[in-house]
Symmetry: D2
Subunit: 461 residues, 4 copies
């Protein structure tokens, strides 16, 4: 799949006496897949704040230097979208009445315009267009005797998706919005101290023991006195964890809200095989995200699992196709076929999802050129019919293939022999939420768990 | 002279229909001597703001890209000190209730801590430690129907030194503090429109006609309606233009507040020759800043002017002396002697000022090695006994040679045959202010034109 | 596996009227896995030679510019080892009596010292330490009426491994040593013209039709007159294609000398499962090179294939582990485990080969921490007991685990429950050469197909 | 003056026990004015050769690393022209029968094509288009028992201009062609050992004592046994030191062949004032190269010396004028005027030489805009009518203003009130060679001291 873009990954480490800058760096590195366009890291020893940030992958962003202050706490962030302004790269720092605040967050607030206008009317100025700066201004202005009071009072005003880590000179706070859209988990470091991260694979990277997921609507406060949990407050809302983390975003070696991502994808593949009976010679994945589902499909269907496509690992952010090649159109450097596995074979090709469909059509053409007999294109998720407003940068609606075309029309576009989407019920079962009580499936259904404040009004034109 | 560090240079251009981004870039380039550690440039067409900034000389800061929006106004800044944070590089942008504000300023506010604490108490947060961000927050919060009202009300709260250019989508404003510490001048572009700049040499660079200096306490407002002058207001205060602009900072081809910098330095040299009669064979400058004064000394004394020292033009920001060489100590790549002019000669060596004295001692040693018979070290300014708090980053007081040593002690340290400082009266006469009614000479006298709010209290330790 | 290092990848394109520079670039990009430390590309239109080369991956080496001359022929090279001197980066150019020669080659000559000493004695000087420069000097000096005569006469003097592409203003020549150690294949471009490349995946990348492998001892000459094959000549020698191309080096989507690399690895896995019967719960590969063999093992044994290890795709050339982390030792960012697939399970872990064994030991430890019950470490190749002298930079002999330790000692070092190597007979069967008539297996047997001229004499000390 | 381009600067250091890499680096830095487009440095300890080279100024070329081997000898080079190929950057290294040779040279061989063709016919290949590679090949092939024999025999075949330093593992050799076109001098290091350099200012930079200039046709051989002088041999030829070193190339603080460059220029100015009597108000130089001559003119004429033009020190290699500004044409960022010195004044403007005249015309226009009354343009050298073939990259003949225009035509083009060239006799007197027995003045006279082998034949077309 291509077209979906992971928004962000965040980490926070609180561990006096430990190399927190290095730990945060390594944990963040495990989240690089969540954002490749900028990275930032900040460390504090209570008095000083040592930070570095820059565009690109972490190896680029920290080429010149990496924060190395011997501090007790650190916060890091990787981000998908290429910020025009350097100052928009997270974490965002601000100095106010009570010292500094340093924030890294993942997600998207649906009421950001309202909050920002209100703050501007009362004299606030903004140096970036980030939600982070709104949150920092809210905290700085909220009346209240303690940091926690001010943070809780501020977060209560937010609507939408956010998982965040907030660092002051003395305290590290992790928080997750009441719906729990984006993931956040907590671990205990071997040498003492705690770590917060978007995914559990980041805890593995620093050999931290997984303690538990931060609960929706929960605040984890870590300071000299240890660890305590508080509630953001507000009226109860339904849980709505992003189901796409399981379908595509998260790393397969992560466990989110108690469910292994790998296992969820394997389940999707099994379920898909139950929904779609086909006579074929083999099952092959679109690497890498289709692998677990293809294995599940193979296990359930009894069809052998083989590799049909090989991915060129060097096609990265900075690879640019020559003009000549681009004009020829068909050339795609990212995948090549293994002819001996495809020639004359009937192939079930498994991918996780389909946004625009252009890459999928290229893959089908490649398989045809390699001699594949039949190609049955299978997706481990339902048709994506609605854009996301909780932090995932999909296309606007009219660019979503499934929003404007029928399944048959898409199949014809792909030139596949057949096209099969996993049903919504099948997907929910695969993530162990058959009653849809815990997951957000708005991108498949248009049923947004929050008001969307006319976010998509101007799309139609 | 070395040890003094120019703080900043600023430019603003308002010229619908002209290439304002290029004009601002060229004007700023003429001010590169005022700041070599970072540079920034912002252009607007009323709706968009196109900006770039970065560390280093302009050629480095704009290596990747230079703003090239076809706009009607632009603002630029070069800065001496190497900002830790990228977001501290000016111009600073902020978006508030009335649109964006973009500010570049030169100088130092003495009441910045008070203003900042007040703002923080009322919920403001700061992402940098710049005075600029304080000024922007004051403007954003000041009540008033028009931008000018809000700017005037805000500037009236500032104490200390500032010359600034402020750009919004529609308006370009230049302002200079009531004392007039730092320079600012106004020119008219050949093709229509106006330019503001720290020094007149920047107007020359873009072939703008010099109109006049912005007066102390004055606001120049430029917009679609043309040009108008307003007053910041407040009680009248004495004029206090920084005399060091004439001694060292400004380019000799600039004219500040009606006085040619080259001519002022030449006058200093003449006056120095009247104060110090010496029997010698030649007058030689420490290039480049000692040249004009040495020529004046030569003209007045009748001693021939010759070159004794040659400067290596390639010793710049990025030149790093090898460790081995540094350990040997005496090696200084910046200057070499012209032996044939020095051998057996009695030399009057003219420099502009002396801060720590280490470089001066190296120069004397070099001249001795080249065979100079006598060396009379002459300075075109009085002993610097007090640090500056108006935007010039000198040493703290205890590092100023003249604050802790007698003239004879300094001479002995330099190993010169004699050492002569221009008198304060002589300097004031050279800049045509014999009654000291227009100039700030605090660094020579300790008589600061404003309260200093205990700025130097913690120096003694 | 780690420790083995691919030497080089080469491409040559001859196609008047086609964008040869772009085609060579794209073909070379498909060979990036064969060399990541430097890259070079040269294009000619018969008169001019436009070239660029640099250290690092292709995206780095060609960051500033890529040759874009509209020529008729191009040659490219990627190389493993980080050359100290820029001039050692291939292709190497030389201008001589008959115009220029441009050479890119893969392999290692065993008689290079002898050839070089002879050339030096006759007045030759060398600006690099490459075999390429030796070959160019031989060609320049060899008497003969035609280029082909001189090339054939020169290549006949070489002993050891080489596949090369040689470009002059008019001609492109590909050649493969009489043993055929390193691969080289030929394709026909859709728009006319020909391409030579180390592996067939490079032909796929530019949609060239595979024509055939260049035969051992064969010369392919391409010019205006078309394509012709010639023989290097010399006494017949045994074929000796590097078996390690199939075990580890080549991309699985390549077909070398008629055998699919993917299929060969799959065969190795099947054969391994026949040699090693074990009671276990699952088969898991060390990604990526163990995947095909693990699938073969699974198919043959009937044990389910599952993913147990996930590779962090961002750990590349420029990733540097922080000191702190390095000191802790156990931290390895490259792999993470999928716990749900491992907990309490008996695992057959399949890798391609083992050089030093340190990474393998870390992987076993990781699986243990993830709760694996039993770990049976399986290798799809025999113990490596002898270093290579044909272009693969392995360790010297005493650093090869299998050269100095018994299998049981290695197992104990890995802390695996069992350790199994594929037999040499099994490997040869997997590559369809049961009688060992076509392959070089010197690294497993010490039976070098050529004299080695005391190359390893000084190792023991 | 602009248009002339200095070719090269070279250094060699032999000093066991001293930090030769650092010393060579510092000495070379003093010669940066002789070449700004590439730099290289090589050090040896007898066994190893540690080298680095790259494009740009030294700070750029050695940005990544600088050779730091603890060796006993080092060689360095700076070069004007931007080499297309990295391998053309000097020093050039070659490994041959007797070990390595490392060469840096300044100058241009007139018989290079003949020598190269001969070498190519005997089987030599060339990886660069440098004269250096020709010289290295000659040395490698010349029969002879000792290095000195081979070097002498090789140099005897060269015709044209060369000053060179050649380093082997044990020996450092300096040599200057029999005419002595390009300078080369020798110094003794304080800590023991010797240094060779293009100009004496490089010896000053490392506090080496100047011993003497290397004589035309002389070889200086430095090794463990100390220092010895030998002769290249061959028939005696006239001395022909490049007079343009005194006019423009060399640094004013250098002493070449016993004559101070500063003093020579001062003499040119004095002589010019004797040849051209004018009624004027002041003498002003074109900085920097016109300064010494202007001072001489002032001393002789009695007219006061003042600064009329100020040079922007930041306009360097990497400064690029924006398109818009370029189109406006007249904008020149390099110089600004000091109006107060020019307004209504009759000015004698002194520059060193005039090639195309375009910059000079811009300067005259600038002075006019600043209000200068009369402008008398004076040049401290005669009209340049012939191109150089000894290592100075002037224009081809038809681009030399004085080759195709009369003095009056040039004056009219400059729009100056008068234009005066120093006479050839005057120039020769200024450099203390009234009988023209030691200097080459070919660029003024067309009397080339060597055959030119049709070098300029194809110019006319």
């Amino acid at each position: 799949m291509s077209g979906w873009r992971e928004e962000c990954g965040i980490v926070g480490v609180y561990a006096p006496g430990e190399p927190v800058a290095d730990l945060a760096y390594l944990a963040l590195f495990a989240l690089q897949h969540r954002g490749q366009e900028s990275a930032g890291l900040a460390v504090t020893d209570g008095r000083q704040l040592d930070a570095a940030k820059g565009p690109g992958l972490m190896t680029e962003a920290f080429r010149d230097r990496r924060p190395d202050l011997a501090g007790h706490a650190a916060v890091g962030h990787v981000r998908y979208s290429s910020a025009a302004l350097h100052s928009s790269i997270q974490p965002i720092f601000a100095y106010g009445h009570g010292g500094f605040l340093c924030l890294a967050h993942n997600g998207n607030l649906v009421n950001a315009p309202v909050l920002r206008t209100g703050l501007e009317r009362s004299g606030c100025i903004f140096q970036t267009s980030t939600d982070s700066e709104i949150i920092l201004n809210l905290i700085a202005r909220f009346p209240g005797p303690t940091l926690e009071d001010r943070v809780k009072g501020s977060l209560a005003q937010l609507e939408g998706a956010y998982s965040l880590v907030l660092m002051t000179g003395q305290t590290l706070i992790g928080a997750r919005d009441p719906h729990g859209f984006r993931p956040l988990c907590l671990g205990a470091l071997k040498g003492g101290g705690y770590a917060l991260a978007s995914e559990s694979c980041a805890l593995d990277a620093i050999e931290a023991d997984f303690l538990r997921d931060v609960a929706p609507g929960e605040l984890v406060v870590i300071d000299q006195g240890g660890l305590r949990y508080e509630s953001i407050g507000g009226p109860p809302v339904r849980r709505a964890a992003c189901i796409f983390e399981y379908v595509y975003f998260a790393r397969p070696d992560s466990v989110l809200d108690g469910l292994s991502v790998w296992q969820a994808r394997y389940n999707m593949g099994r379920r898909l095989a139950r929904e779609f009976k086909v006579s074929a010679d083999l099952v092959a994945p679109v690497p890498d995200t289709g692998i677990s589902a293809a294995l599940g499909f193979s296990a359930e269907s009894g069809l052998p699992y083989l590799e049909g496509l090989i991915k060129n690992r060097y096609v990265g952010r900075t690879f640019i196709l020559p003009n000549q090649a681009r004009r020829r159109g068909a050339v795609d450097m990212k995948f090549n076929t293994i002819r001996s596995n495809l020639l004359g074979r009937r192939v079930v090709l498994v991918d996780d999802s389909l946004v625009r469909g252009t890459t999928s059509a290229q893959l089908v053409a490649k398989l045809r050129r390699a001699g594949a007999g039949e190609i049955h294109f299978c997706l481990s998720s339902p048709p994506i019919t609605h854009p996301c407003c909780y932090g995932i940068d999909t296309s606007v609606r009219r660019e979503l293939a499934a929003a404007v075309k029928s399944v048959e029309e898409i199949r014809a576009f792909l030139k596949a022999d057949s096209l099969h989407y996993l049903s919504r019920a099948g997907l929910l079962e695969a993530v162990d939420d058959p009653g849809e009580e815990r997951m957000c499936t708005a991108c498949f259904s248009g049923e947004y768990p929050t008001p969307v404040y006319g976010a998509f009004d101007d799309e139609g034109s």
